[in-house]
C-alpha cells in the first residue's frame, strides 16, 4: 500500500504515456498520430515536474523567512520544452498539409497504397 501511495503519480504518467504511444502506433490518421505524440510528450513533462516536487515546498520564488522550495531545475527544462514542442508540432502540421496536397489524403494506409502502386 505504501508503494502505491509513493508511486501512483508515476504510474498515472506511464498510463498517459502508453495511451499516447498506442495512438501513435495504432491509428492511421496523421493528425491523430501527432495528437498522440503530444499526449506522450505531456506525460514526460508531468513526470519531470513531479520529480521536482518537494513535500511542503512551494514555487521556487525566493521569499523572506524559512521556506522550503520545490526543485527549479525540472521547471526550467520543461518550460522551454513546451515552447519547442509547439514549434515542432507546427512543423508536423505543415508537413501534413504538404502530404495532403501531394497525396490528397492524410491516412497512412492510403499513402502506402499510392506509393506501392507507383
Amino acid at each position: 500500500m505504501s508503494t502505491f501511495i509513493d508511486l501512483y503519480n508515476y504510474w498515472i504518467f506511464i498510463f498517459l504515456m502508453m495511451v499516447g504511444f498506442y495512438i501513435v502506433i495504432s491509428q492511421g490518421n496523421l493528425v491523430k498520430k501527432i495528437i498522440g505524440l503530444n499526449i506522450f510528450q505531456t506525460a514526460v513533462f508531468l513526470l519531470y515536474i513531479s520529480m521536482g516536487k518537494v513535500k511542503g515546498g512551494t514555487a521556487p520564488i525566493i521569499m523572506a523567512g524559512d521556506v522550503s522550495y520545490s526543485n527549479p531545475l525540472p521547471h526550467v527544462l520543461i518550460l522551454t520544452a513546451i515552447v519547442v514542442g509547439v514549434a515542432t508540432t507546427a512543423l508536423a502540421m505543415a508537413l501534413i498539409i504538404r502530404i495532403r496536397k501531394a497525396y490528397g489524403t492524410i491516412e497512412e494506409q492510403d499513402i502506402h497504397e499510392q506509393d506501392a502502386s507507383l
Binding site: 508511486l7 508515476y10 516536487k53 522550495y69 521547471h75 515552447v83 494506409q109
Partner: protein, 321 residues
Amino acid sequence: MINIILLGFLAVVAIAVAMMRDLFAIVMLFGIYSLLTAGIFVSLDAVDVAFTEAAVGAGISTILILSTLALTSREEKQPTHSFLLPLLVVLVTGATLVYGTLDMPAFSDPEAPVHQHVAPHYLNQAEQETGVPNIVTAVLASYRSYDTMGEVTVIFTAGIAVLLLLSAFRHHEDEASNLNDLSHHPVLRYIARLMIPFILLFALYVQFHGDYGPGGGFQAGVIFAAGFILYGLVVGIDKTRQMFSESKLHWLMASGLLLYIGVGIVSLLLGGEFLNYNVFAADPLKGQHWGIFLVELGVGITVTATMISVFLAFSEVRRSE
C-alpha cells in the same frame, strides 16, 4: 487531493481521445487536456511551466491543429488492421516502465537524489549571485543560458521550416481567408476586442516582471502571440497582415535570436566568458540584471514573431488546388 482528481480527469480525457473518431472533437478534448495539465503543474509548484502550458497547449497548438483540419479532413477513417498487436506492445512497454518505477524515490520525497546535486546551490545562492528572486528565471536566463539559446534557435529554425513548407501554397490577395468566419459573430467580436488590450498588457507584465514573479520571455511570447492570434481570428487575417507584414515578422524572428547571441558576444568582448553577464557593469549584480533583461527580451521577440508568422502561414494556405 486536487492532484488526484485532476490526474483522474486527465486519464479519462486521454482515453476519450484514443477512442473517438471525430478529429474536431479530439482537438477540443486535447485543449482541455492541456488546461488540466496546466492545473496539475500549479499544484506541483511549477507556476512558470503552468503559464506556458496554458497559453501554448490550450491556445496556440489547438488553433494550429484546427487550421490543419480545415485544410485536410475532419473525419478519421476506420483503421483496417487489428488492434491486438499495438495493444500488446503498449502493455509490455507499460509493464516494463512500471517495473522501472519501483526503484524510484517516493513522490515528493525531499531526500530524493534529484534534489541533492545543483538544486540546493540554485536555491541558496541564486539570489546573491544574480539578484533575481524567481529561481526559474535565474537558471533559465543566467546559469543555463547556453541551453536556452539552443532552444530559441530550435524555435526559430522550426518557424523557418514551416514558412518554407507552406509558402508555396499561399493564396492570393483576392481570395478570402478560410479562418475569417468568426468576424460575423458580433458578440464574440465585441468581447474579444475588449479582451485583447488586457491580454497584451498582461503579456508585457509577464515579460518584464519575470524576474520577480512567475514569467519570462517564453511565457510572455506565447501570451503576446495568443493575443494577436485572437485578433486575427475575430477581426480577420488581412487586418493582422496589415499590422505585421511578412518582412517585418521575419526581421523580428531573427532579431530576437541575434539579440541573444549579441549579448553573448558583447560579454566575450568585455573580457568575460560567453554569456557571462557579470562583466556588463562594475557591480556584477547590475550586469546580471542587464544580461537577463536583454536575453529574456530576445526570447520574447523571437517566440512572439515565430508564433504569429506560423499562424499567418497556416491561415493563408489555399484550401484547394
